[in-house]
Every structure is written in structure tokens, then in C-alpha cells.
């Protein structure tokens, strides 16, 4: 079943058009990667879906049109967005960051339960729960960002360039966590990346975006072998 259905999505910054009639869909329980080089429009697309930018065209989530729905309501419907640079509240403690992630959750016991659960998954965050998030390492901040997003119990988790500024081994670790959320909890993932090879090891399918347009798509295994696409759009030397 389709969870996220994007049709003819266009986004403008003032008079400059950043996305041109993008169409693609993400099925429930899928792990989809959106690949593209710097400035291709990946971040813009996520921002439009999560409600930070107005758009033309249509975006359906679980059958609902999102254009008239506020960012807050989209989050309540289950669309979570980890922005580029992780969106950490650096001057707040780790624990407060998790509490903020649960802003839309009314039940206190659910918040307590979820914190416990994600501290279990990320023991390093538990060790540092009372430290300022700004003092965490890059990898720890990315884990905090994931845990924070999970506090709202999303169905669709969108993550913008998790690999940014991280060592490859830590990127692998984060992607592995996404994979297990996907496999074990049935969470749908849309991950934006430039780091093609690592991402395709984990994703089921991928779309390639270039200059604001979707230019290629396929299963991960197809794309891994397709040197032409890598060379022409992703700047990866064969």
C-alpha cells in the first residue's frame, strides 16, 4: 500500500523554482533512498513534505492531501523529519531534547516508556542524559536526532543526510539502525543521501534527483550496478 504519494511537486523560493514536477511514491514499510548531489533539491523536497515550505502539486500521505495541513498536524499524523544538521537543541540537555521530541504526545506514561525504550537502544544517550546536547559528538547527536524523532512514534521517518560530517563506520551504524526499525517495527523510511554506495546497501529502492527533477529510479540492486547513472548524476567515478 502506498504511504506517501507525491505528484507533480513543484517548489519555488521566491521566483526561483527549486523542484520541477517531481512524482514518486513510497510504499508502507519500504526503505527508500533519495539520492542526488549538492543542490539537487533533496532537502527542499523533504521540507515541502514536512510542512516547512509551501508547494504546488500534490502530496498525499495515507490518502490525505497534505497541502492545507500544518507542520504540527503532519507530525501528529506520523510524518517525522530529521533535518540536515540534525536539528539538535544544542543548549538543552539530552533528556530535554527527547522531551521536545514528544511535544505532541499527551500521555506522560507514553513519554516515560518511550524514553526508556530508546535509552535501551542508545545506551550512550542514557549515560549523557543530563549533558547539553551541544557537547555530544557528531555521531551521538545523530543518534539523539533519531531518538528524538522516534519519540513522536512516526510511521514515516524522513532523514536528511545522516552521513553529513560522520565517519563512514558511524554512518553505517545509523543506517543499520534505520534498517532494523524498518524490518522489526515496520517503519517506513525516506532517507536523503549523497553517499550512494553505503546507502544502497541498506535501502530497498532509490530515486535519483538532479536539478530539481527525478531523473532515475530503481531497486537498490539495480542502481548499485548501474555505473552510467552514478557517473552522470551522482558524481561518482566508476
Amino acid at each position: 500500500m502506498t504511504l506517501l504519494d507525491i505528484r507533480d511537486l513543484s517548489v519555488f523560493y521566491g521566483k526561483t523554482q527549486a523542484l520541477f514536477d517531481c512524482s514518486f511514491s513510497v510504499g508502507e514499510g519500504e526503505f527508500v533512498a533519495l539520492l542526488g548531489s549538492n543542490g539537487a533539491g533533496k532537502t527542499t523536497l523533504l521540507r515541502a513534505v514536512s510542512g516547512l515550505l509551501p508547494f504546488k502539486g500534490s502530496v498525499f500521505y495515507a490518502g490525505k492531501a497534505l497541502d492545507k495541513i500544518s507542520a504540527q498536524t503532519r507530525l501528529a499524523l506520523g510524518v517525522a523529519h530529521i533535518p540536515q544538521g540534525r536539528g539538535t537543541f544544542t543548549e538543552f540537555t539530552v533528556e530535554e531534547n527527547l522531551s521536545l521530541g514528544a511535544t505532541i504526545v499527551a500521555s506522560r506514561s507514553q513519554v516515560r516508556e518511550d524514553k526508556e525504550r530508546w535509552y535501551e537502544t542508545f545506551p550512550r544517550l542514557r549515560e549523557r542524559r543530563n549533558q547539553l546536547a551541544g557537547n555530544l559528538s557528531g555521531g551521538e547527536q545523530q543518534m539523539l536526532a533519531v531518538a528524538r524523532a522516534l519519540m513522536s512514534r512516526p510511521k514515516l521517518l524522513m532523514c536528511d543526510e545522516p552521513s553529513l560530517g560522520l565517519a563512514p563506520s558511524i554512518t553505517q551504524e545509523i543506517l543499520a539502525i534505520f534498517k532494523s526499525l524498518n524490518k522489526e517495527n515496520g517503519m517506513t523510511l525516506l532517507v536523503v543521501e549523497q553517499n550512494v554506495d553505503i546507502t544502497l546497501q541498506y535501502a530497498d529502492r532509490a530515486f535519483v534527483i538532479e536539478a530539481g527533477q527525478i531523473v532515475a529510479s530503481g531497486t537498490a540492486s539495480d542502481l548499485i550496478g548501474n555505473e552510467d547513472i552514478k557517473k552522470s548524476y551522482l558524481g561518482v567515478a566508476g
Binding site: 514536512s50 507542520a71 504540527q72 523529519h81 537543541f89 530535554e96 522531551s99 521536545l100 511535544t103 513522536s152
Partner: protein
């Protein structure tokens, strides 16, 4: 020596008023990056409302309570009508806008209640008590107690409640807050509401001493601006410490520095602010990200 302590206690009492108004300024600055030059005049308007209610026979405490609720509404309406549409405007535009708020509220007070000074009852009993040779007024103790109560309440809300956490988040970064589901606009609006209430309290506390007039808070605003600068524009604690420091040094300077005297006392907080800024350019408790106007 007893003169010294006498000056310190009276300085603390005045400083508490500066601190309260500075707190209001800082709350708004943190949340919306706006220095509200109209804060003092909005507060004066609320004090006039208290006075008016009492003229109509409402008991003092009830009148104060009702005007504080009114002040909350004034803060919210000002935000929605004037500040929100200007959130992405250049800084210069918001400076003129808040100066416009100053002129507007001052003119409204003048128009409704006239320019003459009105006497305003104190919330506290008259008289006082002596500690050694130092005489402490009940109103001074009461003013400081109210400031302490405001500070504790704010500290509690910001540190331990979900609302406070969301308000701090909205002030820290709007985009990140939207992404975790904080209703940023509502938080900023509440920030303006709370600030307006705290400012109104300051006006109600100072009115018995200065007499109520449309321009009553204009000089206080300057001291509050100095206090906020001294303490650091993004720090509520700094506003309180700054307010008290400005009050005490002003009181001491006016008596001990011969050239200053009563008529040049305004120079004291300026000098103090300048010295502290030269040592620590962001103020005592400020952080480095908010030095641009």
C-alpha cells in the same frame, strides 16, 4: 556605614522594578528578537486600568488581578496585530514599530486619563521597621518579595514544565521547534503575554512612589534597557541581577560621587554598563549568539 546600607536597601527596592521591566524586555527579545521600546508604556496603560477599576469601586487586589489579566491580553493582541506580520522584516523596521507602540500607548493614556499625575495606592502597608540603624520600608520588602516570586515562578515554568520547555525551544530555534511539533507562534504569543504581565506588575509597584502619569515608565525603561544589556539580552537571570545592580549603583553613585549628584544619576548605570560591556561584550550572563540588533 548605616548610610551605606540605607542606600543599598533603597537601591535594591528600585532595582527590583528595573529588574521586572528588564525581565519583560528579555523574555520578548529571546522569543522574537525584538527590543520592545513600548514595554514601559504598555505597563503604564495597565496601571491606569487598575486605577480606573478602583475608581469604580473594585477592591485593590481584585483590580490588580483584573489588570494583569488585561495586560496578558494586551501583550497577545500587540503580538498578533503588530509584531507577527513583521517577524521577517528588517530590524530597523521593528525598531520603529516598537517606538510606535510607545507613542501609541502613551497617547492613549493621555487621551483617556489626561496628563496630570494621579496618586496610586500601595499594595503594601505604610511604614517599615528598623534593623540596627537602617530603616527598611515595608513596600521595599514587598517589592523585592514580588520580584523573587516572579523569578521563582518563571524558573519553575521554564525548567520543569512542558509549556516552559516548548517556550524555550521556540525562542532557541523556530525551524527545529516546528519540526518537533512545537506550536511556535503560540509560544511567542504567550511570551508576549507573560512579558506584558510582568511589565504591568512593575508599573503597579512603582506607581505609588512616582505617581501615575502617561510618562511614568519612560525613564524606568532606560534603566531596564541598561539592566538587560548589563545582564545579557538572552538571560532572564541576567536581567534580574542587572536590574538590582543598576538600582544599587545608581543609589550609591548619586550620594557618594560629588560630580554626579541627584541630577546626573542617570550617568551611573551608563558608566556601569559600559565598563561591564568592555570587559564582557555580551553582558554578564549573555551568550555569544545574540549581539546583533
Amino acid at each position: 556605614m548605616s548610610l551605606f546600607f540605607q542606600l543599598v536597601t533603597s537601591g535594591l527596592a528600585t532595582g527590583a522594578i528595573y529588574a521586572a521591566l528588564a525581565l519583560a524586555l528579555v523574555l520578548i527579545f529571546r522569543a522574537t528578537n525584538v527590543v520592545n521600546f513600548g514595554q514601559g508604556e504598555m505597563a503604564t496603560f495597565s496601571a491606569y486600568c487598575t486605577w480606573q477599576l478602583m475608581q469604580w469601586g473594585v477592591p485593590l487586589w481584585l483590580a490588580v488581578l483584573a489588570s494583569l489579566v488585561g495586560a496578558f491580553a494586551i501583550g497577545i493582541v500587540t503580538f498578533r496585530l503588530i509584531i507577527r506580520p513583521m517577524m521577517d522584516a528588517p530590524v530597523e523596521a521593528t525598531v520603529v514599530i516598537t517606538l510606535g507602540i510607545l507613542v501609541l500607548f502613551q497617547a492613549a493614556c493621555m487621551w483617556i486619563w489626561g496628563a496630570e499625575q494621579l496618586s496610586f495606592p500601595s499594595l503594601f502597608p505604610g511604614g517599615g521597621f528598623g534593623i540596627g540603624e537602617v530603616r527598611v520600608l515595608a513596600s521595599a520588602v514587598g517589592t523585592l518579595a514580588i520580584l523573587l516570586a516572579i523569578a521563582l515562578a518563571m524558573g519553575f515554568i521554564f525548567r520543569f514544565t512542558k509549556l516552559g520547555l516548548s517556550m524555550r525551544a521556540a525562542a532557541f530555534d523556530r525551524t527545529r521547534s516546528v519540526l518537533v511539533g512545537v506550536d511556535v507562534e503560540r509560544m511567542l504569543m504567550l511570551g508576549w503575554g507573560f512579558a506584558s504581565v510582568i511589565g504591568a506588575l512593575a508599573a503597579i509597584l512603582i506607581a505609588p512612589r512616582l505617581f501615575l502619569s502617561p510618562t511614568m515608565m519612560t525613564p524606568i525603561l532606560f534603566y531596564a534597557l541598561a539592566a538587560a544589556t548589563l545582564g545579557g539580552w538572552d538571560s532572564p537571570l541576567g536581567a534580574i541581577v542587572g536590574g538590582l545592580a543598576v538600582g544599587v549603583t545608581e543609589s550609591l553613585g548619586a550620594s557618594y560621587l560629588p560630580f554626579v549628584g541627584a541630577d546626573m544619576r542617570i550617568a551611573v548605570p551608563i558608566a556601569l554598563t559600559l565598563i561591564i560591556l568592555l570587559v564582557k561584550p555580551v553582558g554578564l550572563f549573555g551568550s555569544y549568539k545574540v549581539t546583533k540588533l
